[in-house]
Amino acid sequence: MSDVGDDVSQVPLLSVRDLGVVFPGGEDGDVPAVRGVAYDLAPGEVLGIVGESGSGKSVSSLAVMGLLPRNARVTGSVRLRGVELLGRPDGELARIRGNDIAMVFQDPLSALTPVYTVGDQIAETIRIHQRLAAGPATQRAVELLDSVGIPNAAQRAKAFPHEFSGGMRQRVMIAMAIANDPDVLIADEPTTALDVTIQAQVLELLETARQLTNAATVMITHDLGVVAGIADRVLVMYAGKAVEQGPVGPVYAAPRMPYTIGLLGSVPRLDRPGQTLTPISGSPPNVSRLEPGCPFASRCPVVLPVCREVEPELTPTAVGSAACHRADEIVDGSIDGVPVFPPPVLAQARGLVARTERPAVLEVREVTKRFDITRGAVMRRKVGSVSAVDGVSFDIREGEALGLVGESGSGKTTTIMEVLSLQAPAEGSIVVHGKDVAGLGRRERKELRRDIQVVFQDPLSSLDPRLPVGDIIDEPLRSFDVPRAERAARVGELLRLVGLAPEHANRYPADFSGGQRQRIGIARALALEPKLLVLDEPVSALDVSIQAGVLNLLEDLKVRLGLAYLFVAHDLSVVRHIADRVAVMYLGRLVEVGDADDIFERPTHPYTQALLSAVPIPDPVAERQRERILVRGDLPDPANLPSGCRFRSRCPLFVELEPGQQQRCAEEDPALVEHVPGLASACHFARERTVVPG
């Protein structure tokens, strides 16, 4: 077999053909994780691979790198400049890995060896492939750290991975990946664990790295917005197979495969707040027990009999290729003018009374929560304190959803924990339904719990795995001594309310998919007919196609039951979709509060502007025209805050100000005041700015 093609200039840089990966011996037999993936990459090109968890997108890239466990059976062909890589011994592949093909992994904390300094780890990468003495290699590592934007690179090179923040660690990973000037760079969910602000920084860095090395990039992600922003071509994976492929613009504008249409329709968008999401019903199939026919058939709204018999091949369409029997019929997401995914009918908001007329469900006034810093093991003494929440005030009116947003570490969770405890805060006051929690006795406090219920982030760990679903939902009723007969009826009613069936009451949480489990969590929270639901990242653990269904449910319930929500989420698109009002937090303070439309359309605080501009929009045209406002660096150490305005050290506006104005920021802590009607913002130089295209 000849490994090299006739003319090297004619062969693609990386060519993957008919790639298949089988993991033998799963619970249900062999697991065909990848079932035929093919793509070509040219130098400098960016390919986005999109799919939900379990779609095989990461496995296919690990197969290219030869990093799968030994027992995995890999078939097909992977050629780098015409040279076959599959089936080579580890020793030969090792010479290619890190040199010709480099990889950036998802979680940079666990992906760096904890016991070596980052400088040593980068130097090691260099020395594996280049004949370089230890000294020059370390020197080169410092240069690389500097080029990826690590301040004080020479000193930081001697630090260990745990001494870096998540964003900085990802920069280290990228420095390591570009150390040997690779031809192909594979980034596996490189920004998934990061805040949007840091995600924007890392994506920009990846783009710079690509320009520096002219490496072809494979970007694996579940985020359609990220792909829209940086990829030239996109490959959509479902159940181990590529189901649609083509240039990003046309595929996003006119997808031909119903799965792609569903995926695009189920993502909440910052730029289209009113649009109803179209969730995909069901959940992805178990690849080790695939039925004959199209793997998407069971979830496809336009399924034909043939779809259940013959699995469609990836066939060329006008712009790319799609694996669907009806690809030719689909025009603009519709067949004969009827949308493939018809938008579901949700309860519409009734003509509401003005918000000031409605009673407040929750009032939070000047609440502060401090954590002491102590020193000494035997004689513990307080040496200072950190305020996780510092003088936060907001209220939620009946039937209103307040979205609390901000980076991790901004104090969102501490705030809702203070509210949920129903205890008097150390400073400030919390009033629920006009009752100050400080004056409550034991019994009254329990009674008040009826009115505030919570839905947690991870539905698997927040439901007791040993209780049947019926008992889980029943438990709050039992603790409030609701009669037995009433309870049974109520459980069935609640299950129906969240889109499940009363028969499900006898099953256990493990029998349900992620989306269904979150519905169970919501049903439990609704059991006592609360007025306020506290939702802590309720959809962040779910895949997009599932997330849409839960969001629709929440939207529907809010109107039908007149619920108020306190909604915490790091995904601003989700907040945009569901919230009526938004409060933006930074380092324990509220920096901007107002109606959702105002905050998203004409934010005045530079932090809000930066947050919003960092959120990618799944629209290649709009996304590429946007101007990014990047915040610099990471959150400062809360024990050592900058003087004056806390945001000063990272503020994009601050650097543009006159020295006199800068002095004001450095000396005077800005108060939260209304600079424009209806929008309070804590900035001396607040001014409106549109950052989300309309």
């Binding site: 690990l62 090792a94 990889m103 666990s110």
Partner: protein, 327 residues
């Protein structure tokens, strides 16, 4: 870091004092040195017995705290551990017995640790293969078998080896042949011959024990992301496993290794008894049967100090291996 270690050291010293004090008091209350004298034939005059017991500091008619103060004062001020119930100097025996024990333990522990760690690593890498199963079977056998059984088995094995060779290659009593006239190398060969079986009886168990722990630690690391990164950088699987994997998997082992060495100090009693080595473990058991308070307290002190050193060593090794605890 230095401050942290100093603090730990201070803690350990307190523990040593507590352990020794308790041991002395308990031994004084439980043991009856008087019986050694009263049982003699002909019985010595009562006044002589009293005088002797008081002289050795073990007379139960003297106040306990006073006796303890005398003994601990002697230890701290003069390094004098007092006398045995038969009037011999404890100091004379302590040195030689400690050396005998250490010779046995240091070698056994080092072999146990090194081979155990390697066996664990191999076992993890060859998970569920024949090698892994063999090592696992070996481990379970020796973990389940008490050391006196292993030692007796080894004795039988040695007998048949000696029979097969036709001369005594493996010795199973004592740590040297008394009155041997064989020159320097002859002595070395003789001592090695004596050392093999007891060392094996300790090492076999330790290997079994450590290999299980190391196997688990290694398996944890083998699924870790950083190992995949190391391979993605261009290291071969094998190199990544040793340079990044084993290095990290050794961290939890440091504590285990150090402490097990410490607890062995007296724990090798069976081995010493069976092979006729006059070490610390044997001494402890003998002194209890001979109602010897001072020796019990001395051996306890020795053990406590040994564990102190091991604990301190564990802290230092841990800090050296894991940058995350260096503060």
């Amino acid at each position: 870091m230095g401050r942290f270690l100093l603090k730990r050291l201070a803690n350990y010293v307190v523990l040593v004092v507590v352990a020794t004090t308790l041991a002395y008091i308990v031994a004084s209350l439980a043991l009856n040195p008087r019986s050694t004298y009263e049982g003699r034939n002909p019985p010595p005059p009562a006044a002589v017995v009293e005088q002797q017991l008081t002289a050795y500091g073990v007379n139960d008619k003297d106040p306990l705290l006073g006796r303890y103060a005398d003994w601990i004062g002697g230890v701290v001020l003069h390094g004098d551990f007092g006398q045995t119930v038969r009037g011999q100097d404890i100091n004379d025996q302590l040195g030689s017995r400690a050396l005998v024990s250490l010779r046995l333990l240091v070698l056994g522990s080092i072999i146990g640790a090194v081979v155990g760690v390697l066996a664990g690593v191999v076992s993890a890498i060859k998970k569920y293969k024949v090698t892994d199963r063999a090592i696992t079977a070996y481990s379970f056998f020796f973990i389940a078998t008490p050391v006196f059984f292993t030692a007796v088995l080894l004795k039988f094995g040695a007998l048949s080896v000696n029979d097969a060779v036709g001369s005594t290659v493996l010795y199973y009593t004592g740590y040297e042949t008394p009155n041997l006239q064989a020159g320097f190398w002859g002595h070395v060969a003789d001592q090695v011959g004596h050392l093999i079986l007891p060392t094996l009886s300790i090492a076999l168990g330790q290997i079994a024990y450590f290999s299980r722990y190391q196997r688990n630690a290694m398996l944890d690391v083998m699924n870790s992301d950083f190992l995949r990164t190391a391979e993605a950088k261009g290291l071969t699987r094998r190199k990544a496993l040793y340079k990044h994997g084993l290095r990290t998997a050794l961290i939890p082992m440091a504590t285990l290794l150090a402490y097990s060495f410490g607890t062995l100090a007296v724990g090798a009693t069976f081995t010493e008894k069976i092979f006729g080595w006059h070490g610390m473990g044997e001494w402890l058991v003998d002194s209890i049967t001979s109602q010897d308070i001072n020796v019990v307290a001395t051996v306890t002190l020795f053990t406590a100090v040994f564990i102190l050193i091991s604990g301190f060593l564990a802290d230092v090794i841990y800090a050296v291996l894991d940058p995350r605890v260096r503060v």
